[in-house]
């Protein structure tokens, strides 16, 4: 087995295991920390795909900022100590198993699927693009050029959410 494949399976296994631990831990702080481990494993997988920029952003935005905010809120509300289990009896477990089974079935089908020709890039085109425009340019150019309008609309959506949160949280504006 080549070296990169060993690394890939290592990090893929780590991502799966930590994601599983994240949803099974009773303590909210432990869950949040296992999620951080998952995000790191995903960042490593991005590096293996030669997408260093996305990998670093993954750590910077998710592990560095969003998860710290999560921890902040968990600690502020003092949710850290494990509470009673929230699994809702045999009906809940049955539904969860059913939905999980459907998801596994879908993944099994997808395993054999081949992406259609229009969304497949010719081999070596990513390396050439990074050579020409640099790591950041390869992402920044489409984002601020071709897809400028969708990008701006997304930021408006986030702004609306922020304004909404402030209006809901503040009694007196």
């Amino acid at each position: 087995m080549p070296g990169t494949l060993v690394i890939f399976w290592g990090f893929a296994g780590l991502a799966l295991a930590s994601a599983l631990l994240c949803i099974t831990r009773r303590s909210a702080v432990a869950s949040a920390l296992w999620l951080v481990v998952t995000l790191f494993a995903l960042a490593a997988l991005f590096v293996l795909l030669d997408a260093q920029f996305i990998a670093v952003l993954q750590v910077l935005v998710y592990a560095g900022a969003i998860m710290v905010l999560f921890l902040f809120v968990i600690m502020l509300l003092n949710l850290g100590r494990p509470g009673p289990s929230d699994v809702k009896g045999p009906l809940g477990v049955g539904t969860a198993c059913l939905l999980g089974g459907v998801l596994l079935f879908q993944l099994w089908i997808l395993r054999k699927a081949v992406p259609s020709a229009p969304i497949q890039l010719p081999p070596g085109s990513m390396a050439r693009l990074q050579q020409e425009q640099g790591l950041v340019g390869a992402i920044a150019r489409p984002l601020f050029d071709t897809y400028l309008i969708p990008f701006e609309i997304t930021s408006l959506l986030l702004l609306a959410a922020i304004v909404g949160a402030v209006v809901l949280a503040k009694r007196k504006l």
Binding site: Q52, L57, G64, F72, M75, G134, L135
Partner: protein, 389 residues
């Protein structure tokens, strides 16, 4: 490949050792400089000028009793000191500290890992140091520790944004996220050091760096007068020492960052001798000395400020971060981007001394209203003047 592996391992060991020894000496320097500023002697009994004091302290901490508070989360309580300490060292991996060293088997880059995304890597790992502090505060099961942890997370997030915004200006000038390119762009002359064309970005960066390293005047997470010792109240012996080492390692990294981003990295001013090949061992040693001197200066600045300024109040800290630093950093970025566009794209100047001086002039113009606002209407005056008036 073998050569790369061996040279990398040697670099890792050497850099790690140098930082650890530097941190030990820094704890001594802090106490000696503090004593000097307060007209005392400071620790001077162990070895010549107290040089072995850090070793004595280390030995004492190793032999002290380790305490574990009842009801504490054991795993996280043990993990937290390491989690605050590791990111500080990891960040240093991408900082270039000298010109390449020529050897018989080829040139060796004087940086542990020359990443293509080096700059973003720094921001990413710089933001992880807060986990150790937050988890230490939470896992101790002590309300003062918890308050310290909460303060740390709020403070780090607030100032990280201003810090990121101020460094975007550096990227605008460098046009690349590789740290070696950032240094190469600055090494043309003394005035192309980013501190001149981007003086105010440096001002924002240094304030944010003090907040990010939890040093006075922003050491709210451990504020001993209100929180006993904040997040590390419950820690003893070597675990407490780890937080101490982490704080100083963070200072070294932050100083190295200020040097690299704003003061030309290993560049020696007034000469082009040091940044043109062929590389020689003399050049490596000289640039390493220049880098060490600059980092040493910022470390002294950290200590100097600590024993000069009193601690901020918590609401003042938040107000400064969100109501002054962030809006200012954002508007500054717009102004600088416009200026660079005007000079570079409209007038067709290429980056050099005149370009940098033009931007420096703009910074001086912007600095006057900024300091007027920060100084509450006076133009840089002491508190004595306010009392008299």
């Amino acid at each position: 490949m073998t050569f790369f592996l061996i040279s990398s391992i040697i670099k890792i060991i050497v850099v790690f050792t140098v930082i650890m020894v530097g941190v030990a000496l820094l704890t001594l320097a802090e106490r000696r400089i503090c004593a000097w500023m307060q007209d005392r002697l400071g620790p001077n009994r162990v070895g010549p000028q107290g040089l072995f004091q850090p070793a004595a302290d280390g030995l004492k901490n190793l032999l002290k009793e380790e305490t574990l508070p009842a009801q504490a989360d054991k795993v996280l309580f043990l993990l937290a000191p390491a989690m605050s300490f590791v990111p500080a060292l990891l960040t240093f991996a991408v900082i270039p500290f000298a010109t390449p060293l020529p050897t018989r088997w080829g040139d060796v880059d004087m940086v542990v890992a020359n990443l293509p995304v080096g700059f973003l890597y720094i921001l990413a790992f710089g933001s992880l140091g807060v986990y150790g502090i937050v988890l230490a505060g939470w896992s101790s099961n002590n309300k003062y520790s918890l308050l310290g942890g909460l303060r740390a997370s709020a403070q780090m997030i607030s100032y990280e944004i201003a810090m990121g915004m101020s460094t975007v200006a550096v990227l605008l000038l460098a046009g690349n996220v590789t740290l070696t390119d950032v240094i190469a762009k600055q090494s043309q002359s003394l005035f192309t050091w980013n501190v001149f064309p981007l003086s105010l970005a440096f001002f924002i960066f240094i304030v944010a760096a003090f907040a990010e390293t939890n040093r006075l005047p922003f050491d709210l997470p451990e504020a001993e007068a209100e929180l006993i010792a904040g997040y590390h109240t419950e820690y003893s012996a070597m675990k407490f020492s780890m937080f101490y080492i982490a704080e100083y390692a963070n200072m070294v990294t932050a100083s190295a960052l200020m040097t690299t981003l704003f003061f030309g990295g290993w560049d020696i001013p007034f000469t082009q001798w040091d940044n043109t090949p062929p590389w020689t061992i003399l050049k490596t040693v000289a640039t390493l000395a220049a880098f060490t001197l600059k980092v040493g200066f910022f470390l002294f600045l950290y200590i100097w400020v600590r024993w000069t300024l009193p601690r901020f109040r918590y609401d003042q800290l938040m107000a400064l971060g969100w109501k002054v630093m962030l809006p200012f950093a954002l508007s500054y970025l717009t102004v600088i981007a416009t200026a660079i566009w005007l000079l570079h794209d409209q007038l067709g100047w290429s980056y050099g001394t005149p370009f940098a001086l033009a931007l420096f002039g703009l910074n001086v113009l912007l600095a006057i209203p900024l300091f007027f606002v920060l100084d509450r209407g006076h133009l840089v005056s002491g508190s004595v003047a306010e009392e008299a008036g």
